[in-house]
Amino acid sequence: MTAISLRALPWQGDDLFRRACLTSAGLISVLMFAILLSLCIGAWPALEKFGVGFFFSSEWNPVTKEFGAANALYGTLVSSVIAVFLALPVGLGIAIFLSELCPVWLSRPLSIAIELLAAVPSIIYGMWGLFVFAPWFSEGFQVWAGEHLSELPIIGQLFSGPPMGVGLLTSGIILAFMILPILTSLIKEALSTVPKVLREATYGIGATQFEVIIKVLLPAIKGPIFGALILALGRALGETMAITFVIGGAQSIESSLFMPATSISATIAEQFNEATGDMHISALIGLGLVLFMITFIVMGTARVLLRRKAQ
């Protein structure tokens, strides 16, 4: 008897270990499901009361208990899209410089420095954005833009308004700084997958670096660049603390990018602890549900895009 149980022990250990691993891995699916479920349950009272209108109404009034997600949704989407558009050219430039132009000994320390930008906590970007960048941006750009750009047709509207420093455009710029590292490293990674022969062949027929990069390398990694952009967009959408500092926290939709606005994450961060009444809390969780859905779709798309190209 004892002999058998002794021999069986290691295999029991094997089984136990496998089960422990499986349980831990399964916990991830449970967690994701639980997060979605808890958001749905928490948001239910608000969704039941306001119906589909919750997503389109720009009314957000804790006093009359009327809530709609439109303002926050608008701020989230616009600031993130601005961020992606601003970060793309800079990220491309850095990635090209680091992997194609600069000497090898310089490339690694510079890459690390750029990656450290991603390690700086969100709240630090927020403080810096509000106390250092916003005043500078107000005097350096917004005043000038108010004089020169606001008269222009069509885009003039975007650049008019008081030079307050905080607002949608400032949020977009700060977000652009924050997504720069991930964008750069994904583009760099994509560049490194392009075979060396392709470069050599193009240099061989007398092309300049500019021509090699613009006409051969970039077209070759169009797909991954697009994937990287979507991924960066997903990051920007959910960013909270930095935006809470610099977006201005105004529940409104304005045509000017200089005006204060709000985002889903900033609204939740600012109001959740001071929420008045259950409907307010439920509406805030409803905002969270909207954010969850958007980031899930955007990030899912990015992962599919990046994975397909990687194979």
Binding site: A34, F97, A113, L116, P121, I123, I213, M241, R303
Partner: protein, 276 residues
């Protein structure tokens, strides 16, 4: 001629982009030093956060942050390592493993404020009050996916021959994993854990409605717990000069700690490589 000029212009633009990226890092660090150094003193580490306008330090916030980060990692590390092991050793390319990998990636990119909302509903509402535990759990959920994916990546690097050598001696599979594979890539796993510590120690949003904040020194995770990020947030937004100063000093402390962890986690694997 024009081609050469275009080329030069292009190179200059790329250099400019890199300078912008580096410039942002340098300016942020410069601001932190300039505004944070003024408040650096021993009282920062020995005194608790003051009332509005008063003088004091950040001792309770630093202690609270350390406790919650530590608890968060203690919760996340074993689960993360085991889950990563399952993906690399057992699940491999099965459908289930791919699904879990996908969900893990989604969890990694889920906005941290949503993790805060989730833990609020699950833990804070259940317990009836804000607590350090709730804060630690939200930090653990944020650290978990990072640890899982680094563990998996690392275990995939273990050569199959090493496992075969172990199995050839009649060693059960779990022992091969624990005694050979884990050891072979221990530096990598530790690096992953260090990086996740760096990631969670600056997180503010998930603590807002879980640990809340506290102006008292407490080491009991059953109570609302002071922590650096939320203190920085509240003090920076306040109209009081002394609070603003503390916020900048706290910001300097936390950023330096995080950058230090990041650099360590890059240097560690190389040191190890050189020694062996």
């Amino acid at each position: 001629m024009i081609r050469k000029f275009k080329n030069q212009l292009f190179r200059a633009m790329c250099v400019l982009a890199t300078l912008i990226g580096l410039g942002i890092l340098v300016i942020i660090l410069f601001t932190l030093f300039q505004k944070g150094m003024a408040g650096m003193s021993w009282s920062l580490f020995t005194e608790v956060t003051p009332g509005p306008g008063g003088e004091g330090g950040l001792a309770n916030a630093i202690v609270g942050s350390l406790i919650m980060t530590l608890l968060g990692i203690v919760i996340a590390a074993p689960i993360g390592i085991l889950a990563g092991t399952w993906l690399a050793e057992y699940g491999q390319h099965s459908k289930t493993a791919d699904t879990i990998r996908f969900l893990n990636g989604m969890l990694m990119s889920a906005p941290s404020i949503l993790i805060g909302l989730f833990v609020y509903e699950m833990v804070v509402v259940f317990m009836g009050h804000f607590s350090g535990w709730a804060g630690a759990i939200s930090l653990a959920i944020i650290a978990l996916p990072v640890i899982i994916s680094t563990t998996e990546e690392m275990l995939k690097l273990v050569p199959i021959t090493l496992r075969e050598a172990g199995a050839g001696l009649g060693t059960p599979r779990w022992k091969v994993t624990v005694k050979l594979s884990y050891r072979a890539v221990s530096t990598g796993i530790i690096t992953g854990i260090l990086l996740s510590v760096a990631r969670i120690s600056g997180e503010t949003a998930p603590l807002l409605f879980t640990a809340l904040n506290s102006s008292f020194m407490t080491v009991n995770p059953n109570e609302p717990m002071a922590n650096l990020p939320v203190t920085i947030y509240q003090f920076a937004m306040s109209p009081y000069d002394s609070w603003n100063q503390l916020a900048w000093s706290g910001a300097l402390l936390i950023t330096m700690a995080i950058l230090f962890l990041n650099i360590i986690s890059r240097v560690l694997p190389q040191l190890k490589k050189r020694r062996s």
